[in-house]
Amino acid sequence: MGEARRERGRWSPLVAGLVLLLGIAAVTAAQEDDKHTIEPAQARRAVTLIHARCAVCHTTDLIVQQRLPPDRWQVTVEKMMHWGADLSKDEAATLLQFVTARYHPGAPDHLPSIEEELATTAPAGGPSPASDGPLVGVSARGAEIFARNCQACHGEGAMGGAGPKLARNKILKNEGAFWETVLHGRGPMPAWGSVLSHQEIADIHAWLASR
């Protein structure tokens, strides 16, 4: 500010004003750019949250078709949390940053679905191949993975919610059906094959079986 005031003495006010305007324009353009880019790891985290927490009530196609400015996205996310979307403050911030950057008024008409986003942002290494030999689930890890991904529908302690109770559910004894449902989804349940690794699914199964 002090710099600008000193320069104003040397330059005509008109030129100074012009320089200031151009400067603001450049900074705003840079911020616009920043707003529309998002770190791949953050994007991955956000689309996983959308898959796990928003799809409890509605499919994610509803989100991908919106083209909203930041203030309306914020109101929308707050409304959803008020209605019970299971998001911590931190998670909501991640999600908001992503939808604001991806689904803004200037974005193209057609953008990839959340499922496609999940497939293209798969974590390094990707889901482990099924042919690695038998997977041994670790129950202690499963509890945390369940809380992050499954609890929004299946309830705390897997006691049921919008989705069925899984504690002592007979599907746990039918591993084929369990894996089919988790990997490919069933009815309102989305597919988790591109979100969870096979090891993580085995961990969830181990934890559920211990309940």
Partner: protein
């Protein structure tokens, strides 16, 4: 599963799909989209898979009546569980500010005098995708509307049986559908007593001569002819007479528009918001289709027009992107609340790209505007319909 997915889907659409689980419905619908792809007459255009929201491709509007299978579908939570609307146990209750509470089974309800009315049903958000700046919500384009024949009994007759107390000024309606989470507000609406007592306001149990299908509100839905579809409660189970408008999100916040026009893109206005009620004058081009290449020579342009409670008096067509307009011929008979078909014979002489537009005028002299007033919910779009086509030699 004992029934095939295809058969299941058909049963769902016919509203006799007892025992359908939510999952089965989703998958049945998803597969039906695949199965019908490539058929001469295409499927619905899905906007949201769950809850299932889908619009009718406008080429279907070359028919005066829209078939049940191709009628647009919109709800907030999807259909209720099969148990909630089982014919044996389903009941309609009428309570609140009435002299005698009523509990009616479907056969009991059908003892009132039956009435049949043909009426347009249109989602308030139809055309939301055309608003600029864009607004949140399902991005409906042109086809969240349809014209069907509704058979049922007068809401008035049922209310008279119960005896509305003088303080009963609003009629609250509740369906059997429920959100996935109990923290989400129920879809509860009310209409003013004058509309409820109008002899054309129906409790409909048939749609185009068949039981109302599950996706369209089986076994009973409200029809408020001339009004937007959010007043036409599906899966109706409860009617409550109240002194005031229903509180809650879906009446006090959603489905409201600013009373006076506001600056596009401005935040939620402090100005007075009023409930969406009547359908404004609107017309659509059903044929030709967007992007069509037409042969030079005569081209039949056809479509539909409607205006809530008012008849259509004029439809005009422009084949040069709005520079000149000519009147279309209104086809068929005028019927209150139904849409009116129209035709225009265009002699296409100039090769190249052009745009075809249409606009309607109602009996009050209200003409469809080029663009609708912007509102934060993106409701009541009724701007001129517009197609880009190319004329080839």
């Amino acid at each position: 599963m004992a029934v095939t997915r295809r058969a299941l889907f058909e049963r769902v659409l016919q509203g006799i799909g007892a025992g359908v689980v939510a999952g089965g419905l989703d998958r049945a619908l998803a597969e039906s989209q695949v199965e019908t792809t490539g058929q001469a007459s295409g499927p619905l255009t899905v906007r949201v898979s769950r809850p299932f929201d889908a619009e009718t491709p406008v080429r279907e509007f070359t028919s005066w009546l829209t078939s049940n299978e191709r009628f647009f579908v919109r709800s907030h939570f999807g259909p209720p569980s099969a148990e909630a609307i089982q014919p044996e146990t389903w009941r309609l209750t009428v309570k609140g500010l009435v002299k005698d509470e009523l509990t009616l089974s479907l056969p009991e309800l059908k003892k009132f005098e039956p009435v049949t009315i043909t009426a347009v049903l249109q989602c308030s958000g139809n055309g939301r995708a055309h608003h600029r700046p864009k607004v949140p919500g399902v991005q409906w384009e042109r086809g969240a509307a349809g014209n069907a024949q509704w058979t049922g009994v007068r809401l008035r007759d049922v209310l008279q049986r119960a005896g509305v107390k003088p303080q009963g000024l609003h009629v609250q309606m509740q369906g059997a559908d429920r959100p996935a989470l109990p923290t989400v507000p129920l879809f509860t609406r009310s209409i003013p007593i004058a509309k409820a007592l109008h002899p054309d306001t129906l409790l409909a149990y048939e749609m185009n001569g068949r039981p109302v299908p599950l996706l369209h509100g089986a076994p009973l839905r409200v029809i408020t002819p001339g009004w937007m579809a959010e007043s036409c409660m599906k899966w109706l189970t409860e009617i409550t007479l109240r002194a005031d408008e229903t509180p809650g999100y879906y009446m006090q916040q959603a489905y409201r528009i600013p009373e006076t026009s506001i600056q596009p893109g401005s935040g939620l206005p402090g100005s007075v918001m009023v409930p969406v009620e009547q359908m404004p004058v609107k017309s659509l081009i059903a044929a030709p289709a967007e992007g069509d290449t037409l042969r030079i020579g005569p081209v039949t342009i056809q479509g539909v027009a409607w205006a809530g409670e008012s008849p259509i008096t004029k439809v005009e067509v422009s084949c040069d992107d709005g520079k000149t307009w000519a009147p279309a011929r209104l086809v068929g008979e005028e019927q209150p609340y139904a849409w009116r078909q129209w035709q225009y014979l265009w002699n296409a002489r100039q090769v190249g790209p052009t745009a075809i537009l249409c606009r309607a005028t109602d009996a009050q002299g209200t003409q469809q505007p080029e663009k609708s007033p912007w509102n934060p919910g993106g409701f009541l779009w009724n701007g001129w319909d517009r197609l880009s086509v190319t004329v080839a030699a």
